[in-house]
Structures are given as structure tokens and as C-alpha cells.
């Protein structure tokens, strides 16, 4: 209902997407149309297919049915324009390499076969590390990083790509309040440059403050559109089912985006808690 036809071509267009693991559908007939220049949160309970959706958009999974278009073309032809911040836990951080080296990996796509990154790539990687406040740690072995630092390294690696679309899988997971603030600021800077950011997000409470669009997903698409239009009690109930105890939360949404985040807000570490209600 929220995605009205834009005159410009969608940054990400997903049509009738169905993905299944074995016989179990992970995504069922999902449509999504994201205009350029928005910050979109994907929310939904565990097992709703949020990560699966990101991976399908990126072409990492073969869908049973449906198609994905990036600025009107298949993702294989748009690799330069799309970037990915995977979940921290998706790699082995004991890999023998340094922070700077990981960030430089963001340049491998444009370098092409065989060519090695040189001084220019190094400078760009250092600049990206600056953006996430990690320049002093550029020589550090990656196994010595904290969770928040790992997250920022992955962010920097994506920034180096200088893409138009950023897909992020739980960029705030396991991150302290200060780092979360820094990442949000960064996302808003990206939007100001006209980039599109799609992030899997867990903290319903911060959706109105951090994002301007939201997709509610539970295997099927429940709703998608500007936060002010679709982020309401009815849709949340449809997404999270009876587990969603609402009264307190609905009020908070109506009060909308408080300007200041209390610094001591406890992070639930990725659990699906309905905004501390329940």
C-alpha cells in the first residue's frame, strides 16, 4: 500500500519473490519497491526471512520464483552499485589479517582479476576507517577487535565501495550506545548523499527515529512504506502475532521520534523484544 509508483526507477525492485529451504518457504511471494534515497528498516520476528531477503536481493540465493531488479537491471549487471554489510558472525575473525586489509577488500571488485590494491586503494580504505572512527586501529589484527569495532570494520569495507545501495544485516547488533549513534549518523549522511540504505533492524522502538521507511516482514510482506504510514499497531500485530503486547508501544510511536536517545538504553543484543513491552 505504501509504495506508490515513483517517477524515477526504483533503487531496489523485488517482484513475487519466493525462496525456500528444502520444502519450507522462507519468503513467500514478496514484493518490494524501494525508491532511491531512503533509509529502509526491515523488521520482523526471528525466522521471518529478513536475512534471506537481503541475500536474495544480492543474488546470493537462488529464488524459487520471482525477480530482483537493481535500478531496473538484474543484480549481476549492477555489482558496482550495491554493497553489503553482513552479520558480524558470518566470518571467522581469527583469520590472519589486519583491519586495513579487510577494509581494502571493498576495492577488490573494481580492481578486477589479478591486480592488487595499491596506494590509492590504501588511501581510500584509510579514509573510510576515518569515517567510522577506526583509523588508529588500522594495523590491528582483526581477532583483537570488540564486537562494535568489527561492525565498524564491515561498515568501512562497504563504504570503500562507494555504492549507491547498501544492504546491512543488523548493523546495530551487539554495539554499544555510542557506536550506535555514530552508525546512525553515518547512515543519515549516506542518505543525504542520495544513497539508499536497507537494514535489517531489531529494535522497534528506534525505527521511527532512525529510518524513514519500514518493511514489516514475516515470510510474507505485511506492509511497506513510509514509517508514518505503515508503522502502526495493526501492522505490527499482523507481523509479530499475538505475542505483541502493544498499548504502551503505540503511544510511543504516536509521540514519534524523540530527539534524544537516552545513552543508557540497554541493547537487547538482537532478540526480538517488542520494544521492551510484553
Amino acid at each position: 500500500m505504501g509504495d506508490r509508483q515513483n517517477r524515477t526507477v526504483s533503487a531496489v525492485e523485488v517482484q513475487d519473490l519466493t525462496v525456500a529451504y528444502r520444502e519450507q518457504p522462507a519468503l513467500w511471494d514478496v514484493d518490494l519497491s524501494v525508491p532511491p534515497g531512503v533509509l529502509l528498516a526491515i523488521v520482523g520476528p526471528n525466522g521471518a526471512g529478513k536475512t534471506t531477503l537481503l541475500k536474495a536481493i544480492l543474488g546470493l540465493l537462488r529464488p524459487v520464483a520471482g525477480q530482483v531488479l537493481i535500478f531496473g537491471q538484474p543484480v549481476e549487471q549492477q555489482r558496482r552499485r550495491i554493497s553489503y554489510v553482513p552479520q558480524r558472525g558470518s566470518v571467522d575473525w581469527d583469520f590472519p589479517t589486519s583491519v586495513l586489509d579487510v577494509v581494502m577488500m571493498g576495492t577488490y571488485g573494481e580492481l578486477g582479476w589479478i591486480r592488487r590494491p595499491g596506494r590509492r586503494e590504501r588511501e581510500r580504505a584509510l579514509a573510510a576507517l576515518d569515517q567510522v572512527g577506526m583509523r588508529e586501529l588500522s594495523d590491528r589484527q582483526i581477532s583483537q577487535l570488540s564486537g562494535g569495532q568489527q561492525q565498524r570494520v564491515f561498515l568501512a569495507r562497504a563504504l570503500v565501495q562507494d555504492a549507491d545501495i547498501y544492504l546491512m544485516d543488523e548493523p546495530f547488533q551487539g554495539v554499544d550506545a555510542l557506536t550506535e549513534r555514530a552508525i546512525v549518523t553515518l547512515l543519515q549522511e549516506l542518505r543525504a548523499q542520495g544513497k539508499t540504505v536497507i537494514a535489517v533492524h531489531h529494535d522497534l522502538q528506534t525505527v521511527p527515529e532512525y529510518f524513514d521507511w519500514v518493511m514489516l516482514l514475516n515470510v510474507r510482506r505485511i506492509a511497506c512504506g513510509p514509517v508514518s504510514e505503515v508503522f502502526n499497531e495493526q501492522n505490527l500485530r499482523l507481523t509479530y502475532g499475538g505475542r505483541f503486547a502493544m498499548a504502551a508501544f503505540a503511544r510511543e510511536v504516536e509521540e514519534a521520534a524523540p530527539a534524544i536517545v537516552t545513552p543508557d538504553r540497554s541493547r537487547s543484543g538482537g532478540g526480538n523484544h517488542g520494544a521492551g513491552a510484553a
Binding site: 541475500k55 544480492l58 543474488g59 546470493l60 549481476e76 555489482r79 558496482r80 550495491i82 554493497s83 553489503y84 553482513p86 558470518s90 566470518v91 571467522d92 583469520f95 590472519p96 589479517t97 589486519s98 586489509d101 579487510v102 577488500m105 571493498g106 577488490y108 571488485g109 580492481l111 582479476w113 589479478i114 592488487r116 590494491p117 589484527q141 581477532s143 569495507r157 565501495q161
Partner: protein
Amino acid sequence: MALALPDLALDYTLRTVALGAMLLGLSSGVVGTYAVLRRESLLGDAMSHAALPGIALAFLLTRSKETAVLLAGAVAAGWLGSLLVNAITRTTRVKLDSALGLILSVFFGFGLVLLTFIQKQPDASQAGLDRFLFGQAASLLRRDVIVMGAGVVAVLLAVLLLWKEFKLLVFDPDFARVLGLRVRLLEVILTSMIVLAIVVGLQTVGVVLMSAMVVAPAAAARQWTDRLGLMVLLSALFGVVAGMTGALVSSLTPRLPTGPTIVLVVSGLVLVSLLFAPNRGLVWNWARERARRGQVRAEGMLRQLAALAEHHGSLEHGHPSAVLRASGWSADQVVQVLHDLESAGYVRQVSADRWAITATGMARVRPATEGDDLSDGAGHPAASRPEGTGEGQS
């Protein structure tokens, strides 16, 4: 062992053996780095065992004892084995470890049957195939070494050219695909390299133990460095050292099989690395753990002294070390810790076996009363802990 060194260097057989073993160690060390980091060490095991029926079939089909022909059979069978492992994990619910075990035993069993069959045949030309079981470096000929050299060059070239591609493939294959790298193709190349490295070593080490040469040098190298480039170099070095040592020892000792000898040498390298490597080694960890525990205990003792001083209302009053015996420490250990604290200026010896905390010591334990944190900051755990509240916490 009474041989003079110049003789050794000139001996044709020994030179061939040493060269072959060096090549084997080089390629398996380099390739092993990637196999170990990808946690696919067992793939090497399955592929080397799977090579045996390939060798036997190559002989049965061609009646040739030419190493190149036999190794071509090994390559084909090794590849088929890894394809089957891949197919099994992709199309069934059988997990990777089970699939590897399955392919390993089926292929190896089939290979043994073929070997027995060949040995029962009347013509005498069957001789020598069993050298591929446990390896026989002494049987290496110069043209075998040339074949091995070609394999090693191919492996090294691939690593040099595709350095960044392989690094990303091992670290984060999903991201590699997002960047548009041809991940499937790179995986095929990497698997081919593992097959090549294994085949290079088959005649020297044998199918049964070849996987040790893929895993062990890399595992040892990982202990010493946190840089991929250095790890590859070290792993190659360990492989070369183990290969040459083992091959030479077994060539100079009658009826000592080469493979097991090489594997023993490389196991020694692994053992030393696991124990003594800085940062990752067990001994290192143990020492660090001990130092940390000592620090915590010293901290506890200082707090005790501070409490005693506050109780007496004086810094002048000395206390016997027996009062301070904490958490099962012997009297000697307590005195040792007290001396350490004394040299740090936190404690002074009032008289024989009577100890008191100094003003500096008090400042360290109770920084709140001094207004400022006077900790020396030299890595004492308590220095970074929020003071004043942590009394009862661990």
C-alpha cells in the same frame, strides 16, 4: 651416518630425493594454508585416499609404470572424489564430514582391491605400485621430479596471481560474490590446487599420510603469525624442512618408509609450535595466565594491608606475613608477592617479617580518598576497573 658431507651433496639419488621432497613440502605447505583456513583440511585427506584407485586404474588401462601416467590417474580420481563429496552435501542431508568419510573409505577400499588384484597378476611389471601407499622417496627419478616441479610451478603461479581473490574467498565468500568475483570458478581453481599439491607428494609420502603434509605445516605456521603472507611463507618453509629431513633420513636408513618419517618430523614442528609460539602457544598462554593471576592476588593482598592499616588507623604499624596468607598460598609465595609489591613502592618492610602499606599503596587501593587516580597504569587490571565498587566482585 659416517658419510662425509661432500659425498652427500654429490650423490645423484640423494639430490633427487631432496629436491623432490622440497617441492612436495613447498606446494603442500602453500596450498595447506588455504585448506586449513577454510576448515577443509579433511578434504585433502579424502582426496589423497581417493587418488589410489586412480593410480591403479591408470596402470591397468595403460600397463605403464610412468609416473606422469599414474599421477594423471591420481588427479582424475582425486577430482572425482571431491566432486562427489560436493554433490552429496548439496543434494542430500548428509553433512560434509560424513560425506568426506564416505568418499575416503569407498575410494580407498576400491583402490586396495585393485592393488591386490594387480599384485596377483602373473606379469612382473606390477612391481612398485604399493610405493604409493606409504611413499618411497628413494624411488624418485629425475623425470618424476620434473613432473612434480611442473605441478609446483602451477600452484605457486595461481597463488601469486590470485592472491587477493583467494584471500577474500577464504575470509568472506559471500562478500566476494557481492563484489562480482567469480566465486565458483575460484573454488574450482582452489580445489584443483589442493589436488595438484597432493599428487605432487604421493610418490614421496603416499596416499595414507599425504593429508598430514597439507594440514600440519599450515597449522604450525598459523601459531607464529597473524599475517596471511607470512603464514604462507612459514607454512612452505615448514613443509620444505620436514620434507627434506624426512626424505633424507629415510633414504639413508634401510627399509624406513619415507611418508611416516616425514610426517613424524612435521608433527614435531607442530608440537613445538603449539607449545612455544608467542601469543598462541600453550606455554605462552600459561605464563600469561599465571602473571595475570599473580597480579590479581597482589591486588588482593594490597587491599588486605589497606584494610589493616585503616583498622589500626596508622601506616606505621607492620603486620606479619602469616596474617596475609590468602587463597591457599604458601608462606614463601606470600613473601615473594610482598617483595614484588615492595619493589613497586606499594609496601614497605617495617621489620623482619612485618609489612605495612605505603601512602602510594593506599592511593592505589583507595584512589577516591586521594581525589585522583594515581595508578601507574602499567597494565594492572585494577587500574581500569571502576574503583570503590569492585570490592567483592571477581
